[in-house]
C-alpha cells in the first residue's frame, strides 16, 4: 500500500510500524502481564511495596525503605535504633533518592561568605561529615568517637602549609587548619615549628600544600563504618550488626528495658547472609523499632 513511496521513506515507515508493534508487546502487554502475575498471593504484598503496619493497622512505612528516627527538631530519639546517614533529600526521602557522591579525597570544607548575601557557599567535606557523625554518635552512645584524620572536636584534621617557595619547598611561612573557621581554636598548636592559625575566608587554601594529620585514633574505630557513611540509595533499611550492638545500651536505658532483652530483639531482626555467603548480615531498623514499640512506648 506504500509502494509508491521512495525506498528510504518505506524503510522508515516499516521501522516505525515495528516500533509501534513492540511498544504494544513489550511496553504494555509485558508489564501488565507481570502486574497481573503480581496479584498472586505471596507476591502481592511485595509487589505493593512490603508495607508494614502498627498495632492499630495503620501503615507506618515499608520494611524495605529506611526511615529517620529523629524528633521534629532533627535530634535522634534515644528510644529508637538509629538508621545510617542518608543523602536522599532531607534524609530518607524516597522522592529524592541519592548518594553523597563525594570522593575519597574530599577533605576541605567550604564556608559561607557573608559578603555574598543570598548565596550559601558552605559545603562540608566528606571527611568532616564522617568525623562529625563519629563524634556525635560516640557522645550519643557513650563510645569512643575518634577516627583517623579527625580532630577531637569532630572535623577533618587537614592543614594548608604555605612555603616560601619555589613551589612547595623552602621555609614554612604559614599553616592554616583548613576546616576550622575563626575564631575556632585549631586542633594543633604548631606544625613544623610554625603556629597553626584558624581559617579565615581570605585564606586561599589551594595555594598551600595539603597535609593530613593522622592523629592517635585507633585504626579500627569504635563507631562502625556504616554509621558514619551515607548509603548508596539514601534509603538503606538496614544497619550492620556492629552498629546495632553499639546502640543496645542506650535504647535499653531510654525504654527502661533490660539490655539482654533488647539484644535478643536485635538478634531476632538480624538477617544473615543469603545462602550463607551473599552480602552482609544486617539488622532491619524499622522492624526492630516496631518490635520495641510493641513492648514499650518510645517516648517516656
Amino acid at each position: 500500500m506504500f509502494a509508491r513511496l521512495p525506498g528510504w521513506a518505506r524503510q522508515h515507515l516499516a521501522a516505525l510500524r515495528i516500533l509501534l508493534v513492540f511498544t504494544v508487546v513489550v511496553g504494555l502487554a509485558y508489564p501488565l502481564a507481570i502486574l497481573a502475575i503480581a496479584q498472586l498471593p505471596g507476591l502481592h504484598g511485595r509487589a505493593e511495596g512490603s508495607f508494614v503496619t502498627d498495632a492499630a493497622g495503620h501503615r507506618v512505612g515499608s520494611s524495605l525503605i529506611g526511615q529517620d528516627f529523629t524528633d521534629a527538631s532533627g535530634n535522634p530519639v534515644p528510644g529508637y535504633f538509629q538508621s545510617r546517614p542518608s543523602a536522599a533529600g532531607g534524609g530518607y526521602d524516597p522522592t529524592s533518592t541519592s548518594a553523597s557522591n563525594l570522593g575519597p579525597e574530599d577533605v576541605a570544607d567550604s564556608f559561607d561568605d557573608p559578603a555574598t548575601r543570598g548565596v550559601d557557599e558552605s559545603r562540608q567535606s566528606l571527611l568532616t561529615q564522617v568525623c562529625t557523625r563519629s563524634h556525635d554518635i560516640g557522645a550519643f552512645d557513650g563510645a569512643d568517637g575518634r577516627r583517623p584524620y579527625c580532630t577531637a572536636s569532630g572535623v577533618g584534621a587537614v592543614l594548608a602549609v604555605y612555603h616560601a617557595g619555589p613551589g612547595f619547598t623552602g621555609r614554612v611561612t604559614k599553616v592554616v587548619s583548613v576546616n576550622e573557621l575563626c575564631p575556632t581554636r585549631p586542633f594543633l598548636v604548631t606544625y613544623a615549628g610554625v603556629p597553626v592559625s584558624c581559617r579565615t575566608l581570605a585564606d586561599d587554601i589551594t595555594a598551600g600544600r595539603q597535609v593530613l594529620i593522622r592523629g592517635d585514633a585507633p585504626a579500627r574505630p569504635a563507631v562502625p563504618a556504616d554509621a558514619v557513611t551515607a548509603s548508596g540509595s539514601g534509603l538503606d533499611p538496614q544497619i550492620s550488626t556492629a552498629y546495632a550492638d553499639l546502640q543496645v545500651a542506650r535504647v535499653a536505658r531510654a525504654r527502661g528495658l533490660a539490655p539482654a532483652r533488647v539484644q535478643s530483639l536485635v538478634k531476632a531482626h538480624t538477617s544473615g547472609r543469603a545462602l550463607g555467603f551473599l552480602g552482609e548480615p544486617a539488622v532491619n531498623v524499622l522492624n526492630l523499632n516496631r518490635a520495641l514499640d510493641a513492648l514499650t512506648p518510645a517516648r517516656q
Binding site: 508489564p31 502486574l35 511485595r46 524516597p94 577516627r147
Partner: protein, 592 residues
C-alpha cells in the same frame, strides 16, 4: 565467615552459574538465528509491519535498517517524554524539557541509559513502561542483531551454499534489487533466513526473534523472581505514611520489576529510580543482587558459544569467551582488592570503603556489581562509583575504556571482541610474516581500515569531549568534587557516554543544555558509527570465498592466540587512555 571469604564464594557461584548457562543459552541463540521457520506470533508481526522475513539483506541494507530504526526510536521516545503530562499515569509530572528529553531518548536508544534525570521525580509510569523500557528491549535486540550479522559475514561459506531462494532485497515491500542470481544460495551453518550470497541476514527478523525468543521469555521469569525478592510491580503514585518517629514519608510506586529484569538482561542499566539498583525496590536483597549481576552478564558471556557454532568450530567461541573471562576476572580482582584495602583519606578515616554502598550488599558484592556493570555496557549501579577509592574507581574507568568487550554489552561485546580478534590476527601476521586471515577470511586493507576506524572513534569521542568540557569554565563548574577527582568525573562521563555504558561518577551536574546536548551526540556517534564500521567489515568479509587452512595459517582457537588477543586489548587501551588516567584517578590515588 569473613567478609572476603564470603565475597569470594559469591564470585564462585556467579562464575559457576555463567559456566552452566554458556552452553544452553549459547545453543539457544544459535538456533534462534539459524532457524528457517517463523513462530506464529512472528508471522503476525511481519504481516502487520509489511516485512518480508525470508529476504536477505546485504550490509548497506542491513545498516540502513539499523539507522532507520534508531531514528524513529529516538523520535518516538522524545515525543513521549515531551507530552507525558497529557498521557495517563503521568503522576502529574510536566513534559520533559527538550535538552533532557533529547539526551534521554538517545541514551535509551543507544543502550547507554545515561540518566541526567531522576526517575522518581521526572518520568511518569507510562513513559517508563512504554517508552524507556521498550528501548531497553529494542536497543539490546539491535546490538545482538548486529553481532549476529557480523558473525554471518565472517562465517559465510558461499562455496558450500545450496541453491535456494533467489536473492531479494531486504527493503520491506520491495522486489529484488541486490541479489543477483549468481549470488543465490543458502549459507552453510544454517546461515539463517534469507541467506543468499553475501547477505548478512534480515535485520527485522533478527530484531523480532531476539525480542520474542530470547529477551521476553527470560524477562518474564526474571521479573517474577525479582518480585519474590521484594521488587515492586504496581501502578500506584506516591503514598504517604506516618512514620514511627512522628514524621511523614512518601513511598513511591511503579512497574519496577518488569523494567528491572530487562534493564539487567539487556545490559541497559537505566534505573527506574535515581539510585538505580541501590534502591531497595529495584534490588531488595543480597540474592537479588547476585541474580541481577548474573542477568547482566548472561547474554554477553553466552554469545561466543553461538558464534563458535555458527563458525562451525566451537573452539573459536571458547577462545573468545576465555579472553573475556580472563580480562573480567583480572579486572574484578584488582578493583575488589582496591576497595577491600580502602586506600585513601576518607576510606582510612572510615575504616572501610562503605560510602555510597548498601548494608545488605556489603563492599565485596558492591565491587562485583560495579565491575560487572562497567565490563558490560550496562551502567546500572548498586553503589556509587564517585565515592569509590581512587584506584578502585580507576579500575571501573579502565573497564569501560577497554571498549566493553569483557564480556561487553549484549551483542556489542561480541562484535567488539571480533574486531579485536581481526586486529590481533593482523598484528600477528605482521610480526611473523603470515597472510592475516581469520576464520578463513583474508584481512585486507579494506577490512583493517574498518577495524581501525572502529577502534579510533570511541577514544576520540571520550577524550575530545572531556577536553572540550574542561576548556569551558561553565562546564568545569559542573564538577561536584574539585581537583583530580573533578577531572575524573568529567572523564568518566564522556567515557561512559562514548562506550554506551551509562554509569557515572554521579556527583557531576550534567542536566544542563551543554552536557545534555554534547553527551547525547557522543552517545549517538559512539553507538552508530562503530556499528556501521563493523557491518561494513562484515559485508566485505561476506563477499570473500574462505581460503583453505594451511600450515601457514595462524590458529585462532589456541591459548597462544587468546593470550595475544587479551594483550592487544589491554595495550590498545593503555596507550590511548593512560595520560588521561594519570591526570585523574591515578594522580588522586598516589598522592597520599
Amino acid at each position: 565467615m569473613s567478609t572476603n571469604v564470603a565475597g569470594a564464594l559469591a564470585v564462585a557461584l556467579l562464575v559457576a552459574a555463567l559456566v552452566i548457562t554458556y552452553r544452553p543459552l549459547g545453543d539457544h541463540m544459535y538456533r534462534v538465528y539459524t532457524d528457517r521457520r517463523h513462530l506464529r506470533i512472528e508471522r503476525a508481526i511481519y504481516r502487520l509491519t509489511g516485512v518480508h522475513p525470508d529476504s536477505g539483506q546485504r550490509w548497506p541494507v542491513y545498516a540502513r535498517g539499523v539507522l532507520a530504526f534508531s531514528l524513529v526510536s529516538v523520535l518516538l521516545l522524545y515525543l513521549l517524554e515531551r507530552v507525558q503530562s497529557h498521557l495517563p499515569l503521568g503522576l502529574g509530572f510536566a513534559g520533559v524539557a527538550p535538552p533532557l528529553a533529547w539526551n534521554t531518548a538517545v541514551s535509551f536508544m543507544t543502550n547507554t541509559n545515561w540518566q541526567a534525570y531522576s526517575g522518581e521525580s521526572t518520568m511518569g509510569h507510562l513513559v517508563q513502561m512504554a517508552g524507556l523500557a521498550v528501548q531497553n528491549f529494542l536497543s539490546a535486540a539491535v546490538g545482538i542483531s548486529v553481532a549476529i550479522a557480523v558473525v554471518r559475514g565472517l562465517t559465510r561459506r558461499r562455496a558450500l551454499a545450496s541453491a535456494g531462494d533467489p536473492g531479494r532485497s531486504g527493503d520491506p515491500g520491495r522486489p529484488s534489487r541486490g541479489g543477483a542470481a549468481g549470488r543465490a544460495g543458502g549459507a552453510a551453518g544454517g546461515g539463517g533466513p534469507g541467506s543468499t550470497g553475501d547477505e548478512l541476514g534480515n535485520f527485522w527478523v533478527d530484531l523480532t526473534r531476539t525480542v520474542i525468543r530470547i529477551l521476553l521469555p527470560v524477562c518474564v521469569l526474571a521479573a517474577i523472581v525479582l518480585i519474590a525478592g521484594g521488587a515492586i510491580q504496581n501502578l500506584h503514585g506516591d503514598r504517604v505514611v506516618a512514620t514511627l518517629a512522628g514524621g511523614h514519608q512518601t513511598i513511591t510506586g511503579g512497574p519496577v520489576a518488569s523494567q528491572e529484569a530487562i534493564k539487567e538482561f539487556g545490559t541497559n542499566g537505566g534505573g527506574f529510580y535515581n539510585v538505580n539498583s541501590a534502591h531497595p525496590f529495584e534490588n531488595p536483597t543480597s540474592w537479588t543482587n547476585l541474580f541481577e549481576i548474573y542477568l547482566l552478564l548472561a547474554i554477553a558471556f553466552s554469545l561466543p558459544r553461538a558464534f563458535g557454532r555458527m563458525a562451525g568450530d566451537r573452539r573459536q567461541g571458547l577462545a573468545i569467551v576465555s579472553v573475556m573471562a580472563v580480562l573480567a576476572l583480572g579486572s574484578f580482582a584488582i578493583g575488589a582488592a582496591f576497595q577491600a584495602v580502602h586506600h585513601g583519606t576518607v576510606p582510612t578515616a572510615v575504616g572501610a570503603a562503605t560510602e555510597g554502598t548498601e548494608t545488605r550488599f556489603g563492599v565485596p558484592n558492591s565491587s562485583l556489581f560495579a565491575s560487572a556493570t562497567t565490563l558490560t555496557s550496562t551502567g546500572a549501579v548498586n553503589s556509587f562509583h564517585d565515592s569509590y577509592t581512587s584506584l578502585g574507581g580507576a579500575t571501573l574507568l579502565f573497564n569501560m575504556m577497554l571498549g566493553e568487550v569483557a564480556p561487553g554489552g549484549t551483542g556489542s561485546g561480541l562484535y567488539g571482541m571480533l574486531v579485536l580478534a581481526v586486529v590481533t590476527v593482523f598484528v600477528a601476521g605482521l610480526m611473523i610474516g603470515r597472510t592475516p586471515e581469520y576464520l578463513g577470511k583474508r584481512i585486507g586493507s579494506r577490512e583493517i581500515r574498518f577495524a581501525a576506524l572502529y577502534f579510533l572513534i570511541t577514544p576520540i569521542l571520550a577524550l575530545l569531549g572531556t577536553g572540550i568540557a574542561m576548556g569551558l569554565p561553565g562546564e568545569r563548574a559542573g564538577m561536584l568534587n574539585s581537583g583530580a577527582h573533578g577531572l575524573s568525573e568529567v572523564l568518566y562521563a564522556f567515557t561512559s557516554a562514548a562506550n554506551n555504558n551509562g554509569s557515572a561518577f554521579a556527583g557531576i551536574g550534567v542536566n544542563t543544555t551543554w552536557y545534555n546536548t554534547a553527551l547525547g551526540l557522543v552517545m549517538l556517534f559512539g553507538r552508530l558509527l562503530p556499528m556501521l564500521f563493523v557491518l561494513g567489515m562484515a559485508g566485505s568479509f561476506a563477499r570473500q570465498e574462505p581460503v583453505p587452512v594451511t600450515a601457514g595459517t595462524l590458529p585462532t582457537h589456541r591459548p597462544q592466540f587468546a593470550g595475544m588477543l587479551a594483550a592487544v586489548a589491554v595495550v590498545l587501551v593503555a596507550l590511548t587512555f593512560f595520560p588521561a588516567l594519570a591526570l585523574g584517578p591515578l594522580a588522586e590515588g598516589i598522592h597520599s
